[in-house]
């Protein structure tokens, strides 16, 4: 099975082309945020370098968020359009889980973090169990103040990766020696690991319905919902 894997959830861009779990080609860039300009050329280049054509692909695996809104939209738009237009499978994977895949050890709880500004974070808690990664706490958008009590009662050490800089000190004050940090390179997503993980997952049934995992309503929607608690929010888009 030929797989195209894409992660542009935050500043890094990572794309890989795989043949089952063999990596054929991978590019990872961390120098810019211009995913709109770089994503399709990188895909084009890697597929060519892997000696394939687009029609050889069987599956697209995409990290669908959380992350920067624009970043996850670029990856998901490219992925769902490629899957739809070529009539191939699409697998979606949490961007936080993809980051957790960088830590291949079973003796810790893995806590990937994306900065959500103002002491808020996009985060979740993961662990390896007999070679399979499991969710311990679901991905969410949460303030550091609420996240800390949620993770402070586990016995195992907690290893943080990702945008840890603005949270590390406060977390250490609570978790003390149970807080572990990692090589910063582990905070950069790998599309190869994403592709490998996506190989075993079942594809989505309805490609058209795939949207990014924002984990957060827009402010406009949130305010509106407060005023209209019982309104059905579907069918706001009409084909005319």
């Amino acid at each position: 099975m030929k797989i195209l894997a894409i992660d542009t959830s935050n500043k890094p861009l990572s794309v890989a082309v795989m043949d089952n779990d063999q990596l054929l080609a991978q590019t990872t860039l961390t120098t810019h945020r211009k995913h709109a300009e770089f994503l399709m050329p990188v895909i084009e280049d890697l597929v060519k370098k892997a000696d394939l054509t687009p029609t050889d692909l069987d599956r697209v695996v995409v990290a669908d968020g959380p992350g920067s809104y624009t970043g996850i939209r670029m990856a998901v738009t490219a992925a769902k359009t490629i899957a739809n237009t070529l009539g191939i499978e699409l697998v979606t994977v949490s961007s936080l889980l993809n980051l957790a895949l960088n830590v291949q050890r079973a003796d810790v709880l893995i806590n990937p973090i994306f900065d959500g500004r103002n002491q808020n974070m996009f985060t979740g808690l993961y662990r390896w169990n007999h070679g399979t990664i499991e969710t311990v706490i679901e991905d969410q958008h949460i303030s550091l103040g609420k996240w800390l009590p949620a993770i402070s009662d586990y016995e195992q050490p907690i290893l943080i990766i990702g945008d840890t800089a603005s949270f590390e000190d406060d977390m250490r004050n609570v978790l003390h020696s149970r807080l572990l940090t990692a090589n910063p390179l582990m905070g950069i997503p790998s599309a190869a690991l994403l592709g490998q993980y996506g190989l075993a997952k079942s594809p989505v049934e309805d490609v058209d319905a795939v949207v990014p995992r924002y984990l957060r309503l827009t402010k406009a929607e949130a305010d509106w919902k407060k005023l209209h608690p019982n309104e059905d929010t579907h069918n706001y888009v009409e084909k005319v």
Binding site: R33, S68, Y69, T70, G71, R117, N118, R216, T218, K219, A220
Partner: protein
């Protein structure tokens, strides 16, 4: 530090913008807030003129950002009304703030989280009791550079 002045005409608002332009450097941030039709665009027109920009300054409402490159330094004019938290990513606001031009932002409360520490904020208020064209302009400087600037532009 804040200072409030009264202006009696659109021309006067424009003249203040034009004068301020002489003091501006790349990465300066000017926030314009206040009522609809209270002179924010007029002020920006004056500022653009002072920067030597000859193209007309059009409302940035539709595309959110308009760029003017033909002056002494570039002018980036933004209307961030309705812009969401996080939506600033789309626009690369940070890149503009750390870029090569002067940034003028209308409705800045919508991007309050994204703002750097130093800026000059001007609040425009209509004063209908005094006449159709009378406005109160309140200048609020954050940072020494802008404090000095308003002293020089408005006179001590």
């Amino acid at each position: 530090m804040t200072k409030t002045i009264r202006v009696d005409s659109a021309n006067q608002t424009m003249a203040i913008g034009q004068k301020l332009a002489q003091y501006l450097a790349p990465q300066d941030l000017i926030l314009l807030d206040g009522d609809l039709g209270a002179g924010k665009t007029t002020f920006t027109k004056g500022l653009a003129k002072g920067l030597g920009i000859t193209r007309p300054i059009k409302s940035p409402t539709f595309t959110i950002i308009r760029e003017y490159q033909d002056g002494r330094i570039p002018l980036y004019h933004m209307d961030v009304y309705r812009l969401e938290e996080g939506g600033a990513d789309d626009l690369g606001l940070e890149e503009y703030f750390n870029g090569d031009g002067v940034n003028v932002v209308e409705w800045s409360k919508f991007v309050a989280d994204e703002l750097p520490d130093h800026y000059l904020r001007i609040v425009f208020r209509r004063d209908d009791s005094e006449g159709d064209n009378v406005r109160k302009l309140t200048f609020e400087a954050k940072g020494d550079r802008f404090e000095k600037m308003i002293d020089e532009v408005l006179g001590e």
